[in-house]
Amino acid sequence: MKEEFKVISKFIEEKSRVLDVGCGDGILMEYLSKNKVVDVRGLEISKEKVKKCLSKGLAVIEGDAENDLKQFPDLSFDYVILSQTLQAFMTPENVIENLLRVGKKVIVTIPNFGHWKVRLDLLLKGEMPVTKNLPYQWYNTPNLHMCTIQDFYNFCNNKRVNIYKSISLNGEKISNITTSNLKYKNLISELGIFLLEK
């Protein structure tokens, strides 16, 4: 399992209710239901992936977060997970707002556009960066709203969203992000993982 999923599953307490938004093949869902005995639901936009999830007996519905989060009542989940998809939405601001409405706690991971390789690509080559986590060209990328760990911090501050925990992931290296090391972590992290609460 991906390092990112290991970090996420550590955030989640046993026997809680979880919604995985953009659950993909349901790998995290399977792990959580087996190891954390959680009651887990998924939302996924790709028909192929939804079929894979349902074939595994997972409670996944086909839909997209921008339209289909509406149907879930306020605070109906203990945790809502959004793994590396925030940047692909038309209105990430509304999605985050809806996640915080539906979940008591929200876990968001973002590919960090502030990583030094990304910065260097643009600085030296003068081209839009293409990296392992962001493998697309500017003309075919689904990623409409890239941000950095610093950007996401600022966003949460402005929206008065509490960041309970924030983790930096660089390859397999896991470390805490704090206000004092934020500038540095923003340079070396490939992914930022955040535990949020309204």
Partner: protein
């Protein structure tokens, strides 16, 4: 019909109060089973048929000698794997394959009951079939499943008996029959009732049946089961056994010939009065209204695991109506999965060989069944 002797029929003695207010008792319910009930009695699946179906879901229908209506889905190694599951299917009341319907003979007059048969509902159908579980000694079903009107019965069953099935598969259906669907059903009924042979529903085997009306009803309905794209690809403007138009009203086009054929074979196996009663039951189906406008209340406290399926080209029971069921279930935190299967085969997709659809159901049922057993250990 000598095959009637082999037909499995139970007589339900217990009184059943129908939605119309009438009470029925000592009425027959015809059913068929496939596969074996295991020792734990936890592998039973109750399948509900659609408008023109019957209890013969799998294999060869002994009456019509044609393939069972869900032969693609039900059988050894299939989506509803009868090597593993015990599949039960009953003919709905109102039907014409051995269950209590307008075609059964009134002992007083020695003629079919015809339109003296009470107007029945989806709720009545489900309540009648519930008796079968007592008879077969099944405490809890593994699953209930069905498409179209069968899906409506799934929804009504789970609502009436919240803890009787672990899994529910409503397929290509709705919680509330739409104006468009009522309109199409009315068209079919008018075709039957305007056939002079219908005779206020008092035809019997000795007199002429309203075959023409019933055939037209079937032709019109058949169009609604297909998609425009599917029709275009299959028939286009192809001509029927002729090289040019004949400037008349014979079947010039293949699609005309096809529809006429569908109409003509239908009348051999279906009763016109049954068609009136069953379409009426569909029109009256409004589970949302039954629960004061809040569909979620229909499934309050349910522990059943739902899997809702719709088809992209189904315009009769479109994805949006299937999604309304999903939304109602999510609103109460029920366990629900949903997928819209991509196909150009229209509403009929659930009856046809749509591999994506069949394999997803098969895997879903098999995994869920073993998960339930693991958890019990």
């Amino acid at each position: 019909m000598s095959n009637l002797n082999k037909m499995k029929i139970i007589i339900i003695e217990k009184a059943l109060k129908l939605d119309c207010g009438k009470e029925i008792s000592n009425f027959p319910l015809a059913y068929e089973t496939y596969g074996n009930l295991n020792e734990k009695k936890d592998n039973a699946i109750l399948i509900f048929h659609a408008l023109t179906g019957d209890q013969y879901a799998s294999g060869i229908n002994p009456i019509t000698k044609k393939e069972g209506w869900w032969n693609y889905a039900v059988g050894p190694g299939k989506a509803f794997d009868t090597d593993k599951f015990f599949v039960i299917c009953a003919n709905v009341i109102g039907g014409c394959m051995g269950s209590y319907g307008p075609g059964i003979i009134d002992p007083l007059t020695n003629k079919p009951i015809g339109t003296n048969f009470p107007v029945i509902t989806i709720n009545d159908m489900v309540n009648a079939q519930y008796n079968l579980l007592d008879y077969l000694n099944i405490e809890k079903l593994f699953a209930v499943a069905g498409g179209s009107m069968g899906g409506m019965q799934v929804l009504q069953f789970v609502s009436n008996f919240p803890n009787k099935a672990r899994v529910a598969l409503p397929i290509a259906c709705t919680a509330s029959h739409s104006a468009q669907n009522i309109a199409f059903n009315e068209l079919g009924r008018q075709a039957i009732m305007s056939d002079s042979n219908w005779n206020e529903g008092l035809y019997d085997e000795k007199s002429k049946n309203p075959d023409k009306g019933l055939a037209v009803a079937r032709m019109a309905a058949h169009i609604t089961y297909l998609s425009k794209q599917g029709l275009q690809e299959k028939f286009g403007r192809n001509l029927q056994e002729r090289s040019d138009l004949k400037f008349g009203f014979d079947a010039d086009f293949q699609i005309e010939s096809y529809l006429r054929y569908q109409g003509s074979v239908f009348v051999d196996r279906f009763d016109a009065n049954s068609y009136l009663y069953i379409t009426r039951a569909m029109d009256y189906f409004d589970l949302t209204k039954q629960f004061g406008g809040n569909l979620s209340k229909a499934f309050k406290d349910t522990k059943t695991k739902f899997f809702v399926i719709s088809f992209t080209s189904d315009w009769l029971y479109p994805t949006s109506e299937n999604k309304d069921i999903v939304i109602a279930l999510n609103a109460i935190g029920a366990d629900v999965g949903f997928v819209e299967i991509k196909t150009d085969k229209g509403h009929d997709s659930f009856l046809l060989d749509v591999p994506d659809f069949l394999s997803t159901i098969k895997n879903y049922l098999n995994t869920t069944y073993s998960n339930i057993n693991e958890r019990r250990i």
